[in-house]
Symmetry: C2
Subunit: 193 residues, 2 copies
């Protein structure tokens, strides 16, 4: 039996990736924690992030039309939580949380040196909603720390990204299987028919 709930609860009901978004107004840099980040298109490579209009990062990104999505590992989850809660209006979050930034390749917003993966993005479209604006952005550069690499392959066991589900952070769990693993089984089922 299914029970009806308020639709506004929907965002708590499936896992969302936790990322750190860095941005800049040219003078000051800022960081915000975002779980509302979605994959939009592979070609051109496009993602979305949604931010409340009251946040400092919102106005910085709306003006500069650039940001960097930094993928944190489990060991940064305490700083990640804090970066979502404190405001860049009151303090410099980089200094306060003892975080290092480095130059990005194609955007003025800085990259977080502490994160092993960074996606540099340029805003293509802004969709306004009552509570949030949704920034649709093209990924113009991707960088991966060589700590994660074995040759040109990424060792995802070292990445340990995490997700937000119902206001709780969860690490990545058991490897259940690879995408497409069922194709072989389905073929066997077809043959038996």
């Amino acid at each position: 039996m299914k029970k009806e709930f308020n639709p506004e609860q929907f965002s708590n009901l499936f896992p969302a990736p936790v990322v750190l978004v860095t941005c800049s107004d040219g003078e000051k840099d800022n960081i915000i924690t975002i779980a509302w980040c979605g994959i939009v298109s592979s070609h051109p490579p496009t993602l979305s992030i949604s931010i409340r209009s009251s946040r400092l990062s919102h106005s910085m990104i709306k003006e500069s039309r650039e940001f960097v999505v930094n993928v944190p590992s489990e060991d940064l989850f305490e700083e990640t939580d804090a970066r979502g809660i404190i405001s860049g209006r009151d303090k410099d979050k980089f200094e306060f949380l003892n975080l290092k930034k480095e130059k990005s390749l194609k955007v003025k917003a800085p990259t977080l040196a502490d994160c092993l993966i960074s996606l540099e993005c340029k805003v293509k479209q802004i969709l306004p909603f009552d509570s949030h604006d949704c920034f649709i952005a093209e990924v113009v550069a991707v960088r991966i720390d060589d700590k994660l690499l074995v040759g040109n392959e990424i060792d995802f066991d070292k990445l340990k990204p995490f997700v937000l589900l119902s206001k709780k952070y969860f690490g990545t769990g058991k490897h259940l299987g690879d995408y497409g693993f069922s194709a072989k089984k389905l073929n066997e089922k077809e043959i038996k028919k």
Copy 2:
């Protein structure tokens, strides 16, 4: 040291929620597995899904402007993988995979009885890209199976949703902490200063 990679790889680099999207053209129903699902806005409750235009579900959703996001648990991950691979053009996926559907509350697309959470959606906007179209949709109804509920609270240990990361499925892992847990620690740090 960070190394530059092809931006088109970005979608493999952070965890994406795995959901089952059901749709209908009024006569035939279909299911597709989607990991490209993002949270867009809390008010009005809005999410996005992206689908390649070659997929049957793409044309069904484009025409009907409705779909249901069904959140599968780990124990359905084999069927979930299969639903992303086989095409509804060749066979009825519900019958082939022995899945039960039930009536939705506010849309004509069916709800998957096998999933414990369903979000009924109405498309508000379609953003076209070369490889995919992105459907921006309002969540008009949310239903949760009472197997998941303790009173009106959801027991997320029973939900066991899963994510896609670099073409591998992963379960939800260790509970690292709750959103906002760092606020208390930060206040203590402030007081010490």
